[in-house]
């Protein structure tokens, strides 16, 4: 889901940077108010986890590959604003050092994976696990469902961003200037593969880690102030 340089036109790239700047500013402001010193190591390991889990490319035999993001997990543990910062750092390092995701697309990739994904996942987790005891199985289910839906909404958005490009930018003869596939191909491709395969990877990873933490350190799952 890492959109490379060249797939989005300048307007789309600019818009997503413009959207993300105030989001990053709000995240800094809110995290500054809520993040405690003892939570910083958890934030660091959350960002590291997100970074490495994205390296686990899962194949669709004979087709494409994809991966989990781990972002819903970070949001469950530290809240969506802190997750936004952690995943943004992972995505920027991936783009700058490893060319994974374009530098012009950092705004769009962060919008999908560092903003929408953790927020959607966080609120779904909150809704399903409402009032559940810390050791409840409902929290594990909630984590899985939140991971699945969070990554699929992000994939849908990436599909829309790809798919809008041929409408926005083409030559007089109709050749695309950036991503050549329209909404009718990009959206089913991106959403379909995440609904079928990669969404389940995110769901299982998120649910398993929450289950592990319930045993090891349930206080990490305690409700806390978000904003």
């Amino acid at each position: 889901m890492h959109i490379p340089d060249g797939y989005l036109g300048p307007a789309s790239c600019g818009i997503f940077y413009a959207v993300m700047l105030p989001v990053w500013a709000a995240a800094s402001r809110i995290v500054k108010r809520t993040l405690k010193v003892r939570q910083v190591p958890v934030l660091a390991i959350g960002a590291a986890f997100s970074f490495v889990i994205m390296m686990f490319n899962v194949p669709i035999p004979g087709g494409s590959t994809g991966h989990a993001v781990g972002g819903v997990l970070v949001a469950i543990l530290l809240g969506p604003w802190a997750a936004c910062i952690a995943i943004t750092v992972a995505l920027v390092v991936q783009a700058l050092l490893f060319g994974d995701g374009g530098i012009t697309a950092i705004g769009a990739n962060c919008f999908n994976m560092a903003f929408v994904l953790p927020f959607v996942g966080y609120y779904i987790y909150k809704a399903i696990s409402y009032n559940a005891p810390l050791d409840s199985g409902r929290r594990v289910i909630a984590a899985g469902v939140a991971g699945y839906i969070g990554i699929n909404i992000a994939a849908l958005l990436a599909g829309i961003e790809f798919g809008l490009q041929p409408l926005l930018h083409h030559t007089a003869s109709g050749q695309a200037l950036y991503c050549p596939y329209g909404l009718n191909i990009a959206v089913p491709a991106m959403l379909g593969e995440h609904l079928l395969i990669f969404g389940w990877v995110e769901a299982i990873v998120t649910a398993l880690v929450v289950k592990y933490l319930q045993k090891q350190s349930p206080e990490l799952l305690e409700e806390r102030e978000v904003a």
Partner: protein, 110 residues
């Protein structure tokens, strides 16, 4: 053992087995992620390289492109795996460093 130590051990294991992210796609003949093709790949798919894409795609030259060392492209999966693991370590060190710095600036004492 403290939980954070256990989690970092888990992270170490993930780093060591990260080449699975190389092996499995290779084994199951899976290509690039959707929408992440290089210019050659896109020419094969649609018959031409979109002009804007062609220009922008070479905008940034990453020091460790695709988690592989430059000049190692033709080496076997063993070397690529080593590069993948080293990339994971470098990436995690930088990510953790940046987050700790941000955390130091943003966090508050209890």
């Amino acid at each position: 053992m403290k939980l954070i130590t256990k989690l970092w051990i888990g992270m170490g294991i993930l780093i060591l087995i990260s080449p699975l992210g190389l092996f499995l796609p290779e084994r199951f003949k899976a290509g690039d992620a959707w929408g992440e093709w290089g210019t050659d790949g896109i020419k094969e798919l649609v018959g031409y390289i979109p002009q804007g894409l062609d220009k922008l795609s070479s905008l940034w030259s990453a020091p460790i492109p695709d988690y592989a060392f430059k000049g190692w492209e033709e080496k076997g999966l063993g070397s690529l795996s080593l590069a993948y693991i080293v990339s994971a370590i470098i990436g995690i060190l930088v990510t953790v460093g940046v987050v700790l710095l941000i955390g130091k600036l943003l966090s508050r004492k209890e």
